[in-house]
Symmetry: C3
Subunit: 440 residues, 3 copies
């Protein structure tokens, strides 16, 4: 390009482009537009700012630590164990007091098991046999208690028996008590101490009221009058979760304790309180099923005077409690405030869609306004036929098209116009509806 052309290109970089607008002095549409804007504004102020607290910065990465401690004792009288008092060190597994803990409510005890050979339990299908050949030596019993020794042991005069196995003998018998042994676990209490911290706002809180009054925390129970006393009766927890304690204690189950902290840090710290909710996490079937309930086996190991190991096997049924903590905090911050105000302003333009339709298609003068808004242009082959206003022809230079001549105001079809208008409104509304921000 020549130097002049380069200069023109360079100078054109400093031109300023701005959209052209048509101002329709139509009071009806103007008032309608302002009414739409005011209602959007009311929605914005009422919903976004007051209800959803759009002026706040939020922190959802809660740091939490949970310490639990149970209290309570239960008395049982069984043939295997005799009269026995169960306290916390006996029935809570594991004992560390973390956010997941198990309370034993029912059990099958098989005491004094030693490494020996004995007949397998009759309820294990793989151990049923008719002759020694059915029990290959060294083969582990599928879903059983030991390895086969090669002998098939039958009771007197019986055709069918069970394989002899090397195992912890005698093996466990499959008879769960019909009533939960430790049913008084209903009256045990759990003290859930939860400390949380919102790192973004450097705000910490505990769910316990700091007090020197030792006897308060020794005797209080959680209720709406005592929100700062997180000591719960196990029976209450199960009831609030919608289950029956006695039924759950028989088969076992899993209860979730959700602690939710939703704090508005613009208010006083004393108003930042946790909300507790309880739910049953494992599915409870209408009919008893082998896949319901919760149990596991553990053993206590001893050694006799001869140095031989022996153990007591426990099949423990009980309720596992999972404490789950989540929450979020909000605090006033200028950036989300400005962003939400801006998005609200953007949304106020969404009324333009509707008002444009009214202006261009519904009111009496709509044709006029359509003509003003849409300037239709159609290029002609030859420039030589320019006709001026007065009807006289006059020669015109190369590129020059008399402005507005041959521009005929043909209103665009309603469908085309609606599709155009919808896009404009969609832009506004979508900008409003997408309030995800990246922190600068």
């Amino acid at each position: 390009m020549g130097q002049v052309a380069w200069k023109g290109l360079f100078l054109s970089l400093f031109d300023y482009k701005t959209e052209k607008y048509v101002i329709a002095k139509n009071k009806k549409v103007g008032i309608l537009y302002r009414v739409v804007q005011l209602s959007i504004l009311a929605y914005l102020v009422g919903w976004v700012f007051v209800v959803k607290k759009g002026y706040q910065d939020t922190d959802t990465s809660l740091q939490s630590s949970v310490i639990t401690k149970l209290k309570g004792v239960a008395f049982t009288n069984t043939s295997e164990l005799g009269e026995r008092l169960w306290d916390v060190a006996d029935y809570v597994i594991p004992p560390q007091g973390e956010n997941v803990f198990f309370v034993m409510t029912n059990l099958i005890v098989t005491p004094n098991q030693r490494q020996a050979t004995c007949p397998e339990s009759v309820s294990i299908p793989d151990a049923l046999c008719y002759k020694d050949g059915d029990c290959p030596a060294g083969q582990a019993v599928v879903a059983g208690n030991g390895v086969k020794t090669g002998r098939c042991l039958k009771e007197r005069d019986s055709i069918r028996g069970t394989c002899e196995i090397l195992a912890w003998c005698p093996v466990e018998k499959r008879s769960k008590p019909k009533k939960p042994l430790l049913a008084s676990a209903e009256n045990f209490t759990v003290y859930i101490k939860n400390s949380i911290r919102f790192p973004k706002f450097k705000f910490s809180k505990m769910n316990v009221l700091a007090t020197d009054n030792e006897s308060y925390l020794k005797s209080c129970r959680y209720s709406t009058e005592h929100p700062y006393c997180p000591i719960f009766l196990l029976g209450n927890i199960v009831r609030w979760a919608g289950s029956d304690f006695h039924e759950m204690a028989l088969e076992g189950g899993v209860i979730g304790i959700q602690i939710e902290w939703n704090c508005d840090l613009d208010k006083a710290p004393s108003e930042c309180n946790p909300h507790y909710s309880f739910s049953r996490l494992d599915n409870k079937f209408a009919e008893k099923s082998i896949s319901s309930g919760y149990n596991f086996r553990f053993a206590k190991y001893y050694r006799d005077a001869d140095g031989v190991d022996y153990r007591t096997l426990f099949k423990a049924y009980g309720i596992r409690f999972d404490v789950m903590v989540n929450g979020k905090a909000g605090k006033f911050n200028i950036i989300p405030t400005v962003i939400n105000i801006g998005s609200g302003l953007a949304l106020m333009g969404a009324g333009a869609f509707f008002c444009d339709l009214v202006l261009l298609y519904l009111i009496k003068k709509s044709n006029f306004y359509r003509g003003k808004k849409y300037e239709e242009v159609k290029s002609r082959r030859r420039y030589g036929n320019a006709v001026n206003f007065n009807g006289k022809q006059r020669p015109v230079p190369g590129n020059y098209i008399p402005p507005n001549e041959f521009s005929q105001v043909t209103p665009p079809s309603f469908i085309a116009a609606v599709s155009w208008e919808m896009r404009e409104a969609a832009v506004s509304w979508l900008v409003y509806k997408w309030p995800c921000t990246v922190s600068p």
Copy 2:
């Protein structure tokens, strides 16, 4: 301002502003624009709605509980323990059947340790000594087993020895078996019972088929024919995770079991099934390294007839299994449907960028359309030089500029125009690409 001015200001609040458009009656560009719109529409319907299910509301906060139960026995014959049968209560740590459990596959046993003084292990660097002065009494051995007593114990005729320590004696010898003791852990089975709940849609499901057929769950194994039988062979799990069981059983390791629930709740609940995947979580090095493998020490405590404590120390190697559950559910909801439809409509305007370029720069009549789209204005110093259409001068009042006089249709440079057009297209496309919504 005067009263008239205030009235003018007030009335101007009810004016309605709308953008002015130029309608180019150019069929080529019009058809091109519609083709672009249709292709965008096809992409929108095909991708956003069919593949990504844009009409659905999603819930990603899955509540889950996992209960595990192992079955299987292993037989070992060692010098420390003799013939021994290991069952679930012996090799699973911890026994509670939670989502993380450890299966012992190899071990070093140091039985009958008592609190006493004895020489430290020769493999502890800090305990090596030449004379008593090298072993200050009361000093704990760094990375060792006890506190030094002040004596250096050397074997007969040796110059170098190890410090005498107060510890659980005798100390552990560092010789791991060359083959995993409990290699038959490969045939153990783990039954993973998982209940999930999507709280937003109040939908619960288990990964086990509720059945009264007890023998089904006693004998089935997980496979594609039995997707509702979550009983896995440990050997299979390790193999599916891409590792060799025998090698892993020797040194120990960590396996992750991911259970993923992706449910379309518009379909039947029976189509909401979990997907299992397995991966090795700890890094396995090509060469054996002291930082590979997984092991820990625990002890069983006894008391002899004299009331003296003694213990058996176990250094357990094995595989830890971490069960991790995640998922999301989707269900039809009118709000995301409307939002995605709206954003799709907005995107359809993105074709305008390309079509504008074609219209303004690529087709034959582009100069004409540029002239129509861009109205160039330049203010003059004096108003007195207004020249009308016919060339005659006429006096003009103060602020009045004859419309379109002196407006010369100089096409903006291509670079400037492209940068302007790109911004318009960017607005459209970006509104589409940011589909993050806040739920109202």
Copy 3:
């Protein structure tokens, strides 16, 4: 509609609409606009691309496994236990070396408890009695150690006593040592082995340097010179968390160890290193309170020669360490790059708001430009009064309004114009500020 109308409607679908712009050839505003654009561009390149790495795709779903192992011994001399050496199997609970572990630092030992009847502890309020009637048989003592037998036991000449209970006797006495028994836990070391994997980029790493040099990992300690040696002194961890070890060891507490992986995978893998931070998770009160500290009870069970169970009860105080791993990785990807470039271009249009205000209200020729930008239209009742340029009347057909006649350039009020302009700027700025993307 007639056929012609339908044809018109159909053809109008292929019209192409484009906005009309006014190009103001005002160098001052043009330069101002370019300056604003350049500064926005500098902010975009500097902040979004360089600092926030906007050209990268991120993966926040980190898979992690943690294995911990403690080393260290402590020597104690107490009346209940005598001289005793504590090693890892004694003081770490649980022993599995998972991401949460407890180190005992202080304890109350109650040895040789047997199931029997004995007086309840005097510090239990519910067990205080004056006569046998105060102790109903079979009633569990609230927050106590057993069930009442029906007798009130008083010491010689005392009016008040405590109920006799069936419990593990003798009951625990409430006297915590004034100094932490296992204070030398300060010198214990914990080896935290952490493997992470970013599944999206298939990138794995460990926080330990793979080395055959066994003695390196036996003697090194974590420091800035040894970032690949994750062996920490417990005393250092507590100090870095801002607490005093001796004080924490007396009452117990919870420490969080956060391991954060922020990796730029465009760089070498060796630059992807974890960052360790330590914090105290439980609240430490200025004054001692019954709700501070961390302790729990567990027991070791034995059986005497007569087959009678007895146990040693431990009330363990100590520090629980929670290892928490999180992180994210970024890698160049064309899609976020293009999206951020596009949003940056959109933002550059935000300067138009300010420049529009300058152009329309602040510079000398602002009236002129207002007139050019805003075309005011007002419909008239009768079309017959059209007056042309030259002042002559001429009859006009039905819908035809001479363009620009009667269009009076009345500048809109500043308030109305600002509100309109703000909306335009808000659209631009908000599109920029909402960079949430859905991956295609």
